[in-house]
Amino acid sequence: MSADKDKDLIRPYGDRKDDGVIQLSFVLPVPCSEKAKEAAATVAKKLGLSHVLVAAMEKAGESYSFFVVYGRTHMQLDYNAIEVPEVVHRKHGFDELNEAIRRDLGRRIVVIGACIGTDSHTTGIDAIMNMKGFAGDYGLERYPMFRAVNLGSQVEPEKLVARAKEEGADAVLVSKVVTQREVHKEDARALIDAARQQGIFDKTIFLFGGPRVDHKTALELGFDAGFGPGTKPSDVANYIYYRLLERMGRPPPPQKTAHGTQDATVPATGEKLGETL
């Protein structure tokens, strides 16, 4: 009994508490027919639903049918047993993040980005920095609370650091697409060395991105974080914000990385741009 007391059992709620009602919509790649309708009901049953009602079957093209289906689930869960790590890395949406920066930092965050060394593949850096962004996710330029300076391709590490110093950059973002003979690591090390020499290493956030870059490699090279394929501008924006908060000694501190957090978008796969030439 006492164990049950600590439980908070819940089910989806449609019309009456604990009725377990779920509404679904999906398409099956078959023309509308009684058979198709039964197939839709079977989808719901196979999902474990009972009291299945196929409320709508419509012709969505010659060989597709669109369904709206209701059913009941019998599962229940103990709400008290749901564990979610602290919300430290809940990813802010666009407006929310701008507002958070305005509130917590009271100024715009300055980010400088470039492809360093001989690399002229700006696809990655552009996707993160440019207004348009990438996969429906706005670039840093579009954030009112970011000042994003994209130096483009083939920037020497020393020059990038000098410019970062001049602009008072909070974060330096470098992208390397070319990785033959590990040249990306060489350039990355040169950047960190230059930052140390020019005295901005400790006060600036250094981020490393590219198709062959992962977080671990970036840390080994002296960066604060690494971003691989599929990274969205909003991942980078959120990371920088949390990192700055952390540096100001303000909770909540970020966990391992910001880019491992939940995100409503579909996972992106690697890009293959520029490989045809």
């Binding site: 969505a60 597709y64 700006t122 552009d126 207004m131 483009g152 520029g274």
Partner: protein, 520 residues
């Protein structure tokens, strides 16, 4: 119904300012060519293949000429010379031979030079004749079929974006069967930054397929078939934007596309493409669109997905007038210039519908002959698909009531994923309902001459006029430098693609420009 509450003199003044701003840039355009324009010339002359490692021949040839510092005479001239010097050789090798040591080429005598030009002009005329016949074929097909849901209904425009052209075909067919009038094939992420047009069919694109001639052909063929079956013409559109505007315009014309996204400033502001490059490229691309009777869609909707839609409304109007100025200078007829705008005001506010009506009617009436393209909300879209459809339906209502010509039906799942088949289905079904249900609504209602709508129009137009005064005074390039559009500042020598801009020499030769400008 679309009422305009703005003083006609102010409109005339704004139009004149925009024209003069565009003309200021046109002088620059006329003195320059670009690698993309020259590649288009070669493609028009039939250089369409790709070399080893997939590099298009047009790129290989133009790069040789640019590296040799001789592109200012025009690729057509050098192709002519190369073929004369080495008849029967393949064009790339012939050009390579002369481009290796252009200084060693003996100058042509005046007569010989003129003869070369005449030969290339004859080639160009033949190429243009072929292109024309393909365009006539497109028009013929269209004439034989029904267009749109009914007279006065916006064309229903939907996107497909699977990344595999063959899957795109499946989705496009399904959409057409559900009532779509226009299919837009979304491009692979960041294609606009590639300084070449990839070759062949795309089966593994990222975020879309590449705009390639082969992809265009595959999709058009499928839509031709579908159009025949449905008895209703299904239009095809793609993107003539980025670093290859004119090349894509040519490919689209050749493969019988009906529409193209094409904006005089979009690439500069939103893709950080160099402005000199874009201004030159947009001109030649629009010359081709004018000839091919391709409807262009301008990109003003982007301004209000960036800045606040209410605060930046005037930049939409100002930019449309500037786009009009550029398009007319490129010989485009008004009925081919589809100005873009969108339903984007924050839904959390009050009376947004009146403000959307104000804008939609103003755009409609400022450009009475234009096939206006109306975009759905995107900026304030969240994960709730149910609200998303409700929100989109409000833009359907504004579209049918104010007589918009082309309507993009919902980026229903913006910020989540590409539209699913069922999302498109519900959007098409809802739009059909709204168009039908509100078919004559616009004819029945009038707005108060001094109400919210009228005042809003006047306020926005006054701001647009002030902006245009400034642009005309400073010049386009300086105005963009001051972030007057899209909240983004760009410098004339910044951005991508400047190295592809070449000042024309006095002996510059481009037989297609001669034909398209009507001088031949």
């Amino acid at each position: 119904m679309a009422e305009l509450f703005v003083d006609a003199e102010k409109i005339a003044r704004a139009r004149e300012l925009a024209r003069s701003a565009a003309k200021g840039v046109q002088a620059f355009i006329d003195r320059h060519t670009t690698v993309s324009i020259e590649r288009t010339v070669l493609r028009l002359l039939g250089i369409s293949g790709a070399g080893t490692r997939g590099a298009p021949l047009a790129n290989l040839i133009v790069d040789r000429l640019r590296d040799a510092g001789v592109l200012h005479r025009g690729a057509a001239y050098w192709l002519g010379r190369a073929l004369r010097a080495a008849p029967g050789k393949d064009p790339l090798h012939a050009v390579e031979r002369i481009a290796a040591h252009p200084e060693k080429l003996p100058p042509l005598g005046a007569a010989e030079d003129e003869q070369l030009r005449e030969e290339m002009r004859a080639e160009a005329r033949a190429a243009v004749r072929e292109l024309k016949s393909r365009i006539e074929d497109r028009k013929q097909r269209k004439r034989a079929l029904r267009i749109g849901s009914f007279e006065g209904a916006p064309w229903k425009y939907v996107i497909v974006a699977t990344g595999n052209i063959h899957d795109d075909v499946e989705q496009a067919r399904a959409a057409a069967q559900q009532g779509a009038d226009v299919i837009a094939v979304i491009r692979s992420t960041a294609q606009s930054l590639l300084d070449y047009v990839p070759h062949g069919a795309t089966t593994e694109g990222f975020g879309g397929t590449y705009a390639t001639q082969e992809n265009f052909r595959i999709m058009r063929e499928a839509l031709d078939e579908e159009s025949q079956k449905l008895g209703r013409y299904v239009h095809l559109t793609n993107y003539s934007s980025g670093l290859c505007m004119p090349e894509i315009a040519f490919m689209a014309a050749y493969e019988r596309l009906d529409m193209l996204l094409n904006d005089a400033m979009y690439g500069i502001l939103f893709r950080d493409i160099n402005m000199q490059r874009t201004f030159c490229d947009q001109y030649f691309s629009r010359r081709i669109c004018a000839f091919a009777e391709i409807i262009i869609n301008t990109g003003e909707d982007n301004y209000i997905t960036t800045a606040d839609a209410d605060e930046a409304a005037h930049t939409v109007i100002a930019s449309q007038l500037i786009n009009e100025g550029f398009a007319r200078l490129a010989g485009m007829k008004d009925e081919l210039i589809g100005f873009g705008h969108s339903f984007e005001i924050d839904p959390a506010r009050e009376d947004t519908l009146l403000r959307e009506f104000a804008m939609a009617m103003m755009v409609r009436e400022l450009f009475p002959e234009s096939p206006i393209k109306y975009m759905p909300p995107t900026k304030h879209k969240e994960g709730d698909i149910f609200f998303s459809h409700a929100y989109d339906v409000m833009s359907d209502l504004v579209a049918i009531t104010t007589g918009q010509a082309i309507q993009l039906l919902g980026m229903m799942t913006e910020a989540m994923h590409n539209p699913f088949l069922m999302d498109r289905y519900v959007a098409l079904k809802s739009a059909s309902y709204v168009y039908r249900g509100a078919r004559h609504l616009g004819e029945e209602i009038r707005f108060k001459p001094d109400g919210i709508v009228a005042r809003r129009q006047r306020e926005v137009f006054d701001q647009a006029l002030a902006l245009l005064e400034e642009v005309a005074k400073d010049g386009m390039m300086a105005a963009i430098g001051k972030a007057r559009f899209g909240d983004t500042a760009r410098r004339p020598d910044g951005g991508k693609g400047l190295e592809g801009v070449v000042e024309k020499g006095p002996e510059y030769f481009n037989p297609f420009l001669e034909i398209l400008e009507g001088a031949a």
